[in-house]
């Protein structure tokens, strides 16, 4: 390997400003395989002697397991293996602070769908038949269905850990002197809003195939977004050294966050393969995918903001209550995320944030596109629309007049780099004819504006460590081809194409001369996974470093042959040549031969670690990112006031992506985000009902099927006018920031705001159903508040807030009252630094 001190390193050959591939709409590297059916998703894999596994899932929402009887199943035709929870006693979970899941439930089940037994048989039909014969006896416990019930009923506890009773997490933090901020205000606005839970609904059902190659060595192919974290969980639960476990993430048939947790079925498949010594496959049914969930948390929010007459915000107090479902998942991080990014769009001089996450007897919630931020963004942007209306300020101007400055540090100590929100707002305002049309359309027709921001990768890894968050390794050979090894996972977003294009650009070679080997824990350097919109920025930067090092090696070899200084060489179009005299050159493959002749086998590595964030308080680990993307949307809606039925007529969306690596793929992410946001605004909901007492009192999913879980089809998708704003960020590869999640955020509030402009009533929750609009209209006609939405926020003692002085107050990023605020369990999302540093050795 090329051994260079990354700190001292200066590249020999400067990267030209003239880009040949970056910024062009090249065909994605996996495009051909995806349109020919050649892409191998996990369920497409098949091996000799492979058996099939099914999970027996709990039929009750909360119960002690009294007895598990697998005797009948054992005798069923084709059955080869049965697992119960006692064979895998070690708990796991994505966050070090929430190790609360078992591969199969041991003493308790916590929701309808919690897995209890795994059955393997020669065919899938046989496994299914045998699973039906397993008998589990339960002793039912009282169930918790909502945040309100969790607050009111600390017993019986769903878990024996967490901040108190059935509250998994409780936090309170105050940035600056919030009381004085409210005193400076001329008016204080307060709203209570609700965001219903919804799920990812990837078209691919989760699948896993596990096989053993040696007695104590197992390979797991899976539809996972996070092979590295799955690798760690497998090592923990299976009790095998990580070096004996190989995880290969197959291309995901859609993820959206839903394949980011380590899952029961993945661990059970590996365990079963180790038990049977033969390949084991499991593919979840669609119903089971709804039980895996980890989707959008239902969040009730109270938002209170102090505002001056001219619209200037002086302080905000946000309270959020998350319905977490039955397990921790990413929930502690989700909880912080419902407050962390409120500060990165508009100047908010003082800010207080309180939150709870409750355990309930429903499938666990976790990260879905936007992870924890779409809910408070919905609240904030609807709240701002109301403020603008009350103060007779144009909603676009209210936002434009107080944008967070580029290169600044926010009230809660997030470092903002490039900031293109102003350009985004200007673009959608101009494109939609906002200035002329807003407030002036006929009754029933309305425009709504909203904005958003998202991370380009979380600043910190999920477990504390000092290692890179992404690594790339290149291997050059005398054919002129370059093998690129990286742990990143293709989930449809185009990450394979991004790292291949970056490498090809720097080496000046054809995209097709890059061979990719990705997401294989045996062969590829770690990348933490396809979550938090981190891959373009992090793996992209790692690819730049590896490619620049490779280019320098090749340049040194070529320079000697061409008798020119290496720094004057240009790499382009498969050639290496003298910049001043292009005729003096050689092919890239000849240059590689020259370099290999001089240095021996050629390989380089590149790593990326995000810059350290200035926040030093407990909880400061959630929110920092190397770069923030920005989006603004205007939505035009037609509402029938008689029925409440509405239709989205047009969407204008502008997104600040920093710099396009591939505009066609950026457009795809923007349109896909608009689509998914519309689904959340209009129809998507993961909801439950309690069966009558005489019928088990169970909490059951209302519609665990693709037909009844409503999502937009071709027919519901409105025209979308997209604007790509390029405000390059110094931390991004070629200036690039994220695009996969950000453009979803403005959609829900923009729809709600457009309905207000159309018919003059507020629906303060999503999804917005026609009857809600009708009820708000009827309320107005009866002289009541023209609104549909939650009435109140529950009384919760959030405790003494952690006091963190702001940058403007001269703070240093630390809290000043750690003693008084008390030490609660769950220190942020990670293990304590001291504990995990031990583990590093």
């Amino acid at each position: 390997m090329h051994d260079t001190d990354p700190v001292e390193e200066k590249t020999v050959v400067p990267t030209s400003d003239e880009l040949r591939l970056i910024g062009t709409p090249f065909r994605r590297v996996d495009g051909r395989a995806k349109v020919t059916g050649q892409t191998r998703f996990a369920d497409d894999l098949s091996f000799a002697r492979m058996v099939h596994m099914k999970l027996v899932r709990s039929t009750v929402p909360h119960a002690r397991i009294v007895k598990i009887d697998t005797a009948k199943a054992q005798e069923m035709p084709g059955v080869v293996g049965i697992l119960t929870g006692d064979s895998m006693p070690d708990p796991f979970g994505i966050l070090p602070v929430s190790q609360d899941e078992h591969a199969l439930c041991i003493d308790k089940v916590r929701f309808v769908g919690d897995p209890v037994v795994a059955v393997a048989a020669l065919t899938e039909d046989q496994a299914h038949e045998a699973a039906l014969t397993v008998e589990v006896e339960y002793e039912s416990l009282e169930t918790i269905a909502s945040v309100e019930e969790a607050v009111a009923n600390p017993e019986p506890r769903i878990h024996d850990y967490g901040d108190e009773g059935n509250l998994h997490k409780k936090l309170s933090m105050s940035f600056g002197d919030v009381d004085s901020g409210f005193e400076e205000a001329d008016q204080i606005f307060e709203d209570v809003l609700f965001f219903e839970g919804n799920t990812h609904l990837p078209m691919e059902q989760h699948a896993t195939v596990a096989l053993t190659e040696e007695t104590d060595r197992v390979t797991v192919y899976s539809s996972t977004q996070t092979p590295h974290y799955l690798h760690r969980s497998l090592a923990k639960v299976l009790g095998l050294p990580a070096a004996r476990i190989r995880v290969i993430a197959c291309p995901n048939g859609g993820g959206f966050g839903g394949k980011s947790d380590p899952f029961n079925h993945e661990i059970c498949a590996a365990k079963m393969a180790l038990k049977l010594g033969r390949p084991v496959k499991i593919c979840l049914t669609r119903e089971e995918v709804f039980y895996c969930h980890r989707g959008r948390h239902p969040v009730l929010m109270k938002i209170r903001t102090g505002v001056k007459k001219d619209g200037t915000l002086t302080a905000q107090h946000l309270q959020t209550a998350l319905d977490g479902g039955a397990y921790g998942s990413y929930g502690v991080a989700s909880t912080y995320y419902t407050g962390a990014l409120q500060t990165v769009t508009y100047e908010l001089p003082k800010y207080r944030f309180d939150s709870i996450r409750a355990f309930t007897n429903k499938p666990p919630c976790g990260p879905k596109r936007g992870h924890g931020t779409p809910q408070p963004r919905f609240a904030f942007e609807v709240h701002l629309d109301k403020i603008a209306h009350q103060l007779s300020i144009d909603p676009a101007d209210l936002r434009l007049q107080q944008l967070v400055a580029a290169d600044s540090v926010t009230t809660n100590w997030l470092k903002v780099g490039s900031m293109g929100l102003g350009k985004c707002i200007e673009a959608v305002v101009a494109g939609s004819g906002w200035r002329e049309r807003y407030g002036n359309l006929p009754e029933g027709r309305g425009l709504g504006l909203a904005c958003g921001s998202y991370l380009s990768g979380a600043g910190l890894p999920i477990y504390w460590n000092h290692m890179p968050q992404s690594g790339v390794q290149l291997q050059l050979d005398r054919s002129g081809g370059v093998a690129l090894f990286c742990g990143e996972t293709e989930i449809g977003q185009g990450s394979d194409s991004v790292i291949a294009a970056i490498t090809a650009e720097i080496l000046g070679i054809d995209l097709h001369d890059i061979r990719l080997c990705v997401a294989d824990t045996d062969l590829t350097p770690v990348d933490l996974g396809s979550y938090s919109s981190r891959v373009t920025l992090m793996a992209g930067n790692a690819a730049i470093q590896a490619a620049e090092r490779a280019r320098d090696l090749v340049a040194k070899g070529a320079a000697e042959k061409l008798d020119v200084p290496a720094r004057e060489l240009v790499f382009a179009d498969g050639q290496v040549f003298h910049g001043e005299n292009p005729d003096n050159g050689m092919s890239f493959s000849d240059a590689v031969i020259a370099a290999e002749s001089r240095f021996g086998t050629l390989g380089t590595t590149g790593s990326y670690t995000p810059p350290r964030s200035p926040g030093r308080y407990r909880g400061a680990g959630v929110g920092p990112s190397p770069a923030y993307s920005y989006s603004a949307a205007v939505v035009e809606t037609e509402v029938d006031p008689e029925t409440g039925l509405y239709r989205i007529e047009h969407v204008w969306m502008a997104h600040d992506v920093g710099k396009c690596i591939n505009p066609a793929l950026v457009m795809g992410q923007i349109e896909g985000s608009v689509y998914m946001g519309l689904g959340e605004a209009m129809m998507e909901e993961q909801v439950f009902r309690r069966l009558p007492k005489k019928r088990s009192n169970a909490l059951v999913h209302k519609h665990p099927s693709l037909l009844e879980y409503k999502s937009p089809t071709f027919a519901e998708m409105p025209p979308v006018t997209s604007y790509i704003i390029e405000d390059p960020d110094p931390n991004g590869p070629f200036g690039a920031k994220e695009v996969g999640q950000g453009p979803l955020l403005p959609m829900m509030p923009a729809v709600a705001n457009s309905i207000f402009d159309a018919v003059g009533v507020r629906v303060d929750q999503v999804p917005i159903a026609p009857h809600m609009i009708r009820q708000a209209i009827e309320a107005r006609d009866r002289g009541k508040e023209a609104r549909f939405g939650p009435k109140s926020f529950p009384q919760i003692d959030f405790g003494v807030p952690l006091q963190v002085p702001t940058p403007a107050e001269g703070g240093d990023g630390k809290a000043i009252n750690i003693e008084e605020a008390g030490v609660r369990s769950g220190t942020g999302t990670m293990t304590e630094r001291k504990d995990s540093v031990k583990g590093d050795n």
Binding site: P25, V35, G37, M203, R286, L400, P663, G668, F714, V720
Partner: protein
């Protein structure tokens, strides 16, 4: 459940296969598991999502709802049969070039539904495309790239080589008044 097997001849992508399979198995299962044609995907196996669409006698059919045993004597077409030699079908090429396949999981089913549409209507309107594909769900694209790809492929199949997808579909709309300031 009875595990009765049957032996039938199925014609898939123009090739005949004499195969034994469980009588109750769907065409989807037999294509994927007996013939190894895993290009046909599944999203629900209940006829709800359109992912498993194949063509039977030229018509788009949900292969998860069709018993394989009833397909004897009928022409089955899957995504694996679309390429002509080593060349992509225009629908495939346009999908790949425009980014109409993101994760690619719904793509084979949508390609088959689109192929059936273009076989019966060489110049479909946007509404006709939407109607023909309304039974196929896609979670990635927001559908626009798919519609634009079908329009582009239809033009190429008609021999209209000048047709190009709109520039805004690839680069976004040009930003109104290029002198926008960062307010």
């Amino acid at each position: 459940m009875s595990q009765q097997t049957t032996t039938r001849t199925l014609k898939v992508n123009g090739e005949e296969h004499r195969i034994a399979f469980s009588l109750h198995h769907s065409l989807l299962e037999v294509l994927r598991e007996e013939l190894g044609l895993t290009g046909t995907k599944h999203g629900c196996e209940l006829g709800e999502c359109g992912t498993c669409t194949v063509l039977i006698d030229g018509k788009p059919i949900l292969s998860c709802l069709e018993l394989a045993a009833e397909c004897e004597g009928r022409e089955v077409e899957t995504v694996e049969g679309m390429m002509q030699g080593n060349e992509l079908h225009p629908l495939q090429a346009c999908f790949a070039d425009l980014g109409a396949a993101q994760c690619g999981y719904c793509t084979p089913g949508i390609l088959m539904a689109a192929k059936a549409l273009l076989q019966r209507n060489e110049s479909p309107t946007r509404d006709e495309i939407i109607t023909a594909l309304a039974g196929n769900l896609c979670r990635c694209t927001g559908y626009h790239k798919i519609i634009e790809s079908i329009e582009w492929a239809a033009a190429r199949l008609r021999g209209d080589e000048k047709f190009e997808p709109p520039k805004r579909a690839i680069y976004g709309e040009s930003i109104p008044g290029e002198t926008v300031s960062d307010a």
